[in-house]
């Protein structure tokens, strides 16, 4: 593996839901705020990724669980997890981009060059993680840059720098993959048997550069169990297109041939 390939490891067991990462991301990248509007979904006022929301702290408020909150039956179980663009090994957005605006950086991240993006919006429907969004006013799409500007000068991304509990770790991908395994072992030895690493390597995405340690089913964090790159559908699509073109061409020829004989 390329030693300059960097990654995030976001450990939800360490996250305290302070949203320092969201704020740091917005301030460093000059993004507009999301407003302090209650969504009705726990303390999550952000809801999901957007063109101006590149880090998203999830508040997974689960049913009461024995052993949580003393014995009080009405107390909920809590998990926090700071979500981010996965910077996929095979990125749907990058494959789909018709302008070459979306590129792979020397750090292995997926970067949208804002001066090249023409706002066609095809990457939006090509991202299996729902990360990319078009800004209606601007017309172009935006997402996490993996702080390409900071990494260029040897700094860690703003979110990782601001995280007070080191829930967001930043480093070399290969090392963080080992760290994740070590951390999982440690958590299990401490009785957190439902902890797991989210890194869908056996899908067409072929792995991600933003790993997550979560407790319980990743689907309750909106992490899809089988993310697929849409290029996997191309073969079936173009075969269908060739069939349709053949029917159109030979249909036309036959129709004009047949009409001549009458």
């Amino acid at each position: 593996m390329n030693p300059t390939t960097t990654a995030f490891l976001t450990d939800s067991t360490l996250c305290i839901g302070c949203k320092a990462c969201e704020v740091a991301c917005k301030e460093w990248n000059g993004l507009s705020g999301d407003g302090l509007n209650w969504s009705g979904h726990s303390y999550d006022n952000t809801g999901g990724f957007g063109h101006s929301t590149w880090r998203h702290v999830k508040f997974v408020e689960g049913s009461p669980q024995p052993g949580f909150g003393g014995n009080a039956a009405e107390h909920f179980s809590w998990e926090f997890s700071s979500d981010v663009c996965k910077h996929c090994e095979v990125a749907g957005c990058l494959e789909a981009c018709p302008t070459g605006s979306i590129v792979r950086t020397e750090f292995g991240g997926v970067f949208i060059q804002p001066d090249v993006c023409n706002g066609c919006g095809y990457c939006v429907v090509a991202c299996p993680f729902g990360v990319v969004e078009r800004d209606r006013q601007d017309g172009r799409v935006f997402k996490c840059t993996f702080c390409y500007d900071r990494q260029k000068v040897g700094l860690e991304p703003a979110c990782a720098k601001a995280c007070p509990t080191e829930s967001i770790k930043f480093g070399r991908l290969d090392i963080l993959q080992l760290d994740a395994r070590e951390r999982l072992k440690e958590l299990k030895s401490r009785g957190m048997h439902d902890a797991q690493v989210y890194d869908p390597q056996d899908t067409s995405v072929e792995g991600i550069h933003a790993l997550f340690i979560v407790r319980g089913d990743p689907s309750q964090y909106n992490l899809p169990p089988k993310p697929e790159v849409p290029t996997t559908y191309l073969k079936a699509g173009w075969t269908g297109s060739a069939v349709a073109a053949g029917i159109l061409l030979f249909g036309s020829i036959l129709a004009f041939l047949g009409s001549a004989r009458q």
Binding site: G62, C97, V116, G121, Y122, V124, G139, A244, A245, F256
Partner: protein, 343 residues
């Protein structure tokens, strides 16, 4: 000391609540713990995140960002691409020069309108040129943009040659016009149906579920509207009717397979507003024009013509509605949080 299992007796007691306390005690004694969830305040149950409800049921995927221009572009592009193929075939087989001429004009007008619609969705003209920076075969958007560029260039050249030649007949112009027409027809073959691949190769469940059949569906929809536009312009060639019949027949089969599929991803094509538009569009472009054209075959010549015009009008409306329906269905499908979280 009183017996705790004895029911309370004071007159002012709230019997329901007292009995509830009694039940809790019985449960605690029996099981060693009480499983009740406590008081649920007004508005409860509150949304919870769980494997059953996902992340509060907030959709994982983003909705397609396209505006009204895109379904219209799908319609115009599909019709223009098919028209070029029909026109070139009509000319090469020496059948109907007037038909071939109008096909050149329609194809050229279609590309101008297509480009305008795309530019309108992008925001400003220079943005369309960014598509011409690179060619990426793994991106249907890139393949489509280049197909449009080639198709547009040669369709416009063919139409220009046609116009020029009528006033100043000259052999080189005619040869170049015919060549341009040929290239335009070749590009028209993929141009008439690539939009099916475009939306099929996406993460939107209802689209990628149908990636294999969408190009044929959109292609036949385009062919149907192309012959219908030509018929409404007054062309009465038998081949047009035959093509319209074939396209309607294939659209009927497509509509039938949508209606009979039992997959959850197909629901937006059958339920709600998007389902209604799909159904209306399907009937207008499949069985209705097919029946009208079959009826026309058995009717007298005046009546037959009327029936075919009705079939043409129905096909055009159906083709337009079909494109709107598929994009709406995509919106509904992307908002479904459940499908992408299933294994």
């Amino acid at each position: 000391m009183s017996d705790p299992h004895q029911r309370p007796t004071p007159e002012h007691a709230d019997w329901a609540r007292e009995n509830r306390l009694f039940e809790i005690r019985r449960e605690a004694e029996k099981k060693g713990r009480v499983e009740a969830v406590g008081i649920r305040p007004a508005g409860a149950p509150f949304p919870l995140a769980s494997p059953e409800t996902g992340y509060y049921g907030i959709p994982l995927l983003k909705k397609p960002p396209w505006k009204w221009q895109i379904p219209l572009y799908f319609f115009v592009g599909g019709a223009a691409g098919s028209t070029a193929v029909i026109g070139a075939t009509a000319r090469w087989m020496g059948r109907d020069r007037a038909l071939a001429r109008d096909c050149r004009y329609i194809a050229a007008a279609g590309t101008a309108l297509s480009t305008a619609l795309l530019v309108s969705d992008l925001g400003r003209p220079a943005r369309f040129l960014a598509m011409m920076r690179v060619f990426k075969k793994q991106s249907p958007m890139s393949v489509g943009a280049w197909t449009l560029a080639i198709f547009g260039t040669f369709s416009a050249a063919a139409a220009f040659a046609e116009m020029f030649e009528r006033s100043f007949p000259s052999l080189p112009i005619r040869v170049m016009g015919d060549l341009a027409e040929g290239v335009s027809a070749l590009a028209g073959l993929p141009f008439s149906n690539y939009t099916g691949v475009l939306i099929g190769a996406s993460v939107v469940p209802v689209w990628n579920e149908n990636v294999g059949s969408l190009p044929l569906h959109f292609g036949m929809s385009g062919l149907n509207s192309a012959v219908s536009i030509l018929e409404l312009m007054g062309h009465n060639h038998r081949a047009l009717n035959t093509l319209g019949m074939g396209a309607s027949a294939i659209e009927t089969v497509e509509g039938y397979s949508i209606e009979t599929s039992s997959k959850a991803a197909m629901d937006p094509l059958r339920r709600g507003a998007s389902g209604l538009i799909t159904r209306i569009g399907g009937v207008l472009s499949g069985p209705l024009p097919l029946a009208l054209r079959v009826a026309a075959a058995f009717a007298g010549s005046r009546r037959s013509r009327k029936l075919r015009k009705a079939a043409a009008a129905s096909s055009i409306a159906g083709s337009m509605l079909t494109r709107i329906a598929w994009l709406r269905a995509g919106h509904v499908s992307a908002a479904n949080w459940r499908l992408p979280l299933e294994g």
